[in-house]
C-alpha cells in the first residue's frame, strides 16, 4: 500500500527531548518523506536552530528543505495570568505545528484556528 506516514508527537515526548534531539527527530523524520505534527511547537531558539540545521542538510536532487506551519501564538489573556505574562515578558506558548518536506507539503490556507495543507506522495 502506498501512502504518506504522519507522525504525531505528543507534548510529553517533546518535553523529554533536548533542543538538538527535537531538531534531529524532526529532520530525520521529514527527510524520510514523513509529515511530523508536534502537539506543542518549538521555542524561538529551537526554531532558529532548526532553520540553520535544515540549511546545512539541503542537497541537490535530494532534500530541499522543510515546509512548516503553526497556529499564531495565543495572545496573553486578560486577568492575573495575562498580567503576570506581560510583566514577566514570558512568550505565549507555541501551538500545534505541522512540518513536512518542502517538495511534498503545501499549505493551502491558514487562519488563527485552521491550517489546511495538501500533501503529495514522492
Amino acid at each position: 500500500m502506498q501512502g504518506i506516514q504522519i507522525d504525531l508527537i505528543s507534548e510529553e515526548r517533546l518535553a523529554r527531548l533536548t533542543p538538538m534531539e527535537k531538531i534531529r527527530l524532526i529532520l530525520d523524520d521529514v527527510k524520510q518523506g514523513n509529515i511530523v505534527v508536534l502537539e506543542k511547537g518549538l521555542a524561538p531558539e529551537e526554531a532558529s536552530r532548526l532553520i540553520e540545521v535544515t540549511m546545512m542538510e539541503i542537497s541537490p536532487d535530494g532534500f530541499s528543505g522543510i515546509e512548516m506551519e503553526t497556529y499564531p501564538a495565543k495572545e496573553a489573556g486578560a486577568g492575573l495570568s495575562g498580567l503576570i505574562s506581560r510583566i514577566s515578558g514570558r512568550q505565549p506558548g507555541s501551538r500545534l505545528t505541522v512540518i513536512g518536506p518542502a517538495n511534498q507539503l503545501r499549505m493551502i490556507r491558514k487562519d488563527k484556528d485552521l491550517i489546511s495543507a495538501w500533501i503529495s506522495s514522492r
Binding site: P44, M55, P60, M68
Partner: protein, 213 residues
C-alpha cells in the same frame, strides 16, 4: 519629551561614554527578494557615499552577510545613532536549485547558487543569535506578511529582546498593502517605504535614531 525619557537618554549617553560601548550592529533581515540589499545600499549611500552589494531579481543574490561599519544616521529632529549595518541573506526554510533555473541559470550555476544560499541562511541565523543588537525586518508589502518564516523570525527576534523596526517595502508598486503588515505586527513600529525610490526613508532614519540610539 517627558522628564523620564530625557533622563533615560542622558543616562544612556553617559553609560555609552563610560563603558565605551561598541557601535550597535543592526541586521537587515527578511525573506528573499524583500529589498534588503536595496535598503542597505540606500542607507550606506545616503550616509557614507559608498555602496554595499549588488541586487538582482533572482532570489538569494546576497549569499553572505556583509557588514558596513561606522555609519552615523541622524533623524529629522536631530537624534543620531552610530551603527554598523549588516546586510543578510534572505531567510527561508527551503531552497531548491531548480527555482534558479527558472530564471535562466544553467544547472551547475543554479546548484552552486543554492549551495551558497543555504550556507548564507545558516550564517544569517548565527549572526542573529550571536552578533546582532537590533533588527530591521524587511517585508515586501505586495505579499502576504503572515508567512510562517516571518512569524518565526519575528518570534526569534522578540525572544532575544532585540529592538526591531518592521519595514513595509515596495510601496511604489500598485499591489502594495502596507496596512496588512501593520495589522500583522501591531506590537512593533512599522515604517512604509520604497527603498528603490527612496520615498519615506527619512521616517525610517528617524525611527532608527530613536530606537537604536
Amino acid at each position: 519629551m517627558s522628564f523620564l525619557v530625557k533622563t533615560k537618554k542622558k543616562l544612556s549617553r553617559f553609560l555609552k561614554v563610560f563603558f565605551k560601548k561598541r557601535r550597535a550592529r543592526i541586521g537587515i533581515y527578511g525573506p528573499p527578494n524583500a529589498g534588503k540589499t536595496t535598503l542597505a545600499n540606500r542607507i550606506v549611500r545616503d550616509w557614507t557615499g559608498d555602496a554595499m552589494g549588488p541586487v538582482s531579481e533572482i532570489p538569494h543574490e546576497t549569499r553572505r552577510a556583509r557588514r558596513k561599519e561606522n555609519i552615523t544616521i541622524t533623524g529629522l529632529n536631530g537624534n543620531s545613532v552610530d551603527i554598523d549595518i549588516v546586510d543578510t541573506p534572505g531567510v527561508t526554510t527551503k531552497i531548491d536549485y531548480r527555482e534558479f533555473m527558472e530564471y535562466g541559470l544553467e544547472k551547475d550555476e543554479a546548484v552552486k547558487r543554492a549551495r551558497e544560499a543555504t550556507e548564507g541562511v545558516a550564517e544569517a541565523m548565527h549572526w542573529l543569535r550571536e552578533d546582532i543588537d537590533g533588527v530591521i525586518y524587511m517585508l515586501d508589502s505586495t505579499l502576504d506578511p503572515f508567512l510562517q518564516v516571518n512569524i518565526m523570525m519575528v518570534g526569534i527576534i522578540e525572544s532575544r529582546k532585540l529592538p526591531v523596526i518592521i519595514v513595509a517595502n515596495k510601496i511604489d508598486l500598485p499591489d502594495a498593502s502596507p496596512g496588512r503588515i501593520k495589522s500583522a505586527f501591531p506590537q512593533h513600529p512599522v515604517v512604509s517605504i520604497s527603498s528603490l525610490e527612496g520615498s519615506n526613508v527619512e521616517q525610517l532614519y528617524e525611527q532608527m535614531a530613536e530606537l537604536f540610539g
